[in-house]
């Protein structure tokens, strides 16, 4: 069974498509996580492959199904954005030999294939549909929801995993080459840090609306606080450090006005969710969380870096697509879990949603109000990447757990958890899911 990437037809990229045809007919039930680590210690049992298997098995167990009930697999094959196996470093043969191999020796170590997973999870005996999603869990969720809705599979595991190697992030791969190919030759030519484009947009945002970087402080403190109540997350597991205003405001610039704590920490981790039909979900172990819509942003910027105007227009368009397909309005949102890694994405996303009635240029003022999980306007109850490390999936796990009533210490209490939205990463180029406690 050859696995390819999901076709464009699986995404809901256009405005005007109407209510999603499978609204409320697809549900998330099981959630499975691996532990987290800062970097791989090069043991087989902590490899990205091993932790992916662990996350998948945990999701199966959490949903209360048997492995042979699973008939679909949606995974993201890329497991890093900046940690590449050095060309001159010997392959970890003992790790490779610990698993059933594919033709690629780094499969399960610095990348993942469906073939590798199926070779190493013999209990998955009935997979008859598999597909790859690029980049993020956010994308894979869109694909999985559509696949279940379209009847391509009825019980689907969705997986995203991350590896991180010793040494510095973003120093290997194409950044270490003598030459660089494609459009990266233009965007990466001067070695700017990854957050610089967002920082430029945020600088313009502050100028346009008369805001400043310190106004991000309550968001940062809130995100870390929520993250420390996320037992699956990196900071909660390894360094339970709160952030203070002093900690944040004095930190060094990475790309001014984005400082160290506006960036997320690269880690190792894996997460999986079990999606199924609403009908099948009724008989499973956990409360179903129904999917009301999924939406895709596929905008291409006019220049090397999107302008503030492009970002604002695209986020507004994304918000309209989210609501249109779900058949809801902004007033129906109990909470939002939009992307935050870099923190300065978040105000663009929630202004695009018009969350709690905020308009352009108002998010940072909104941050000065009660945005806690105890208040009426919870912002990023997951804590996101800032609260738990770079995974781009905490927001989804939290959304599911909030609506299942099992978010633990993070459970929102100022408002009933009924409908939430999560997704990202980029304002131009993201995927979003609308979750609901009920199917209609």
């Amino acid at each position: 069974m050859a696995t390819g990437y999901a076709p464009p037809s699986m995404y809901r990229s256009q405005e005007g498509m109407g209510i999603w045809e499978h609204r409320g007919k697809v549900a998330a039930v099981g959630v499975g996580h691996s532990p987290t680590e800062r970097r791989w210690d090069e043991r087989p049992e902590t490899s990205v492959g091993a932790w992916s298997i662990m996350a998948l098995r945990n999701a199966i167990a959490d949903a209360g199904v048997s492995p042979d009930q699973v008939d679909g697999l949606v995974i993201v094959p890329a497991t890093t954005t900046g940690a590449f196996w050095p060309k001159d470093k010997p392959l970890p043969q003992d790790v490779i030999n610990s698993f059933v191999q594919t033709d690629d020796p780094l499969d399960g170590i610095a990348k993942l294939s469906v073939e590798w997973l199926l070779k190493n999870m013999p209990e998955l005996t009935n997979i008859n549909y598999s597909v790859y999603a690029p980049v993020c869990m956010s994308n894979a969720l869109n694909v999985a929801a559509q696949a279940v809705g379209d009847g391509l599979a009825h019980t689907v595991l969705v997986l995203k995993a991350w590896h991180n190697l010793e040494g510095r992030y973003y120093q290997g791969g194409q950044n270490a080459q003598e030459s660089i190919a494609g459009t990266s030759a233009m965007t990466s030519l001067w070695g700017a840090p990854a957050c610089y484009g967002t920082a430029l947009q945020f600088a313009e945002y502050c100028r346009k609306y008369g805001k400043d970087h310190d106004m991000m402080t309550p968001f940062i403190i809130n995100s870390r606080r929520n993250g420390l109540m996320f037992p699956e997350g990196y900071w909660a597991q390894h360094r339970p450090e709160e952030l203070t205003a002093e900690d944040y405001q004095l930190a060094r610039w990475i790309a001014k006005p984005a400082n160290l704590f506006d960036n997320d920490i690269p880690i190792m981790c894996a997460a999986s969710y079990l999606f199924t039909t609403a009908e099948r979900a009724k008989d499973m172990k956990q409360k179903p969380v129904y999917i009301l819509n999924h939406a895709d942003s596929d905008a291409v910027p006019r220049g090397l870096t999107p302008t503030l105007e492009e970002v604002e227009a695209e986020c507004a368009l994304t918000g309209r697509k989210i609501y249109e397909g779900a058949g809801i309005t902004v007033d129906d949102l109990s909470f939002e879990n939009m992307y935050d890694g870099f923190t300065q994405f978040h105000q663009f996303h929630i202004e695009g949603l018009g969350y709690r009635g905020i308009e352009l240029g108002e998010a940072l003022d909104f941050y000065q109000t009660d945005i806690s999980i105890e208040g009426p306007n919870p912002v990023s109850p997951s804590g996101g990447n800032i609260g738990s490390g770079r995974s781009r999936f905490w927001m989804h796990t939290d959304s599911i757990q909030q609506l299942q009533g099992r978010a633990g210490g993070r459970q929102i209490t100022g408002v009933n958890a009924e409908i939430g939205v999560s997704g990202g990463p980029m304002p131009l180029g993201g995927n979003y899911t609308v979750w609901s406690a009920t199917p209609d």
Partner: protein, 114 residues
């Protein structure tokens, strides 16, 4: 003449992530010599304080490594040193602030810490 030594944490001290060669015992030894000690790391300053307190080691300061020059204004001593593992951060900021600089392995063998 008084001496001040600031320690980076990750990649420098044994309690860092990754661990480095500078031990807490060495910091205690420096303090026993009357050397002013503390940390200058990228870790949150509140977390730096918590680390010293967790291990029961007195400290005179915590700061971010890019603020070494501010630290120099706070303490009037004869010699200032920073110990760290990053050329583009620790060494750069140390030189910029007029500090002497030790790589972690060098510091671990320096009589000031023994």
């Amino acid at each position: 003449m008084a001496i001040l030594i600031s320690f980076d944490i990750d990649g420098t001290m044994e309690i860092g992530d990754p661990p480095g060669p500078v031990t807490l015992k060495m910091v205690k030894a420096a303090r026993a010599k009357g050397i002013i000690t503390g940390s200058c790391s990228d870790r949150p300053m509140s977390a730096q304080r918590a680390i010293w307190e967790e291990y029961g080691i007195e400290y005179d300061f915590v700061c971010y490594k890019h603020l070494l020059s501010d630290l120099k204004n706070q303490f009037e001593v004869g010699e200032y040193f920073h110990v760290g593992d990053r050329d583009d951060l620790d060494r750069k900021y140390a030189i910029r602030a007029g500090f002497g600089f030790f790589w972690p392995a060098e510091a671990a063998e320096n009589p000031l810490l023994l």
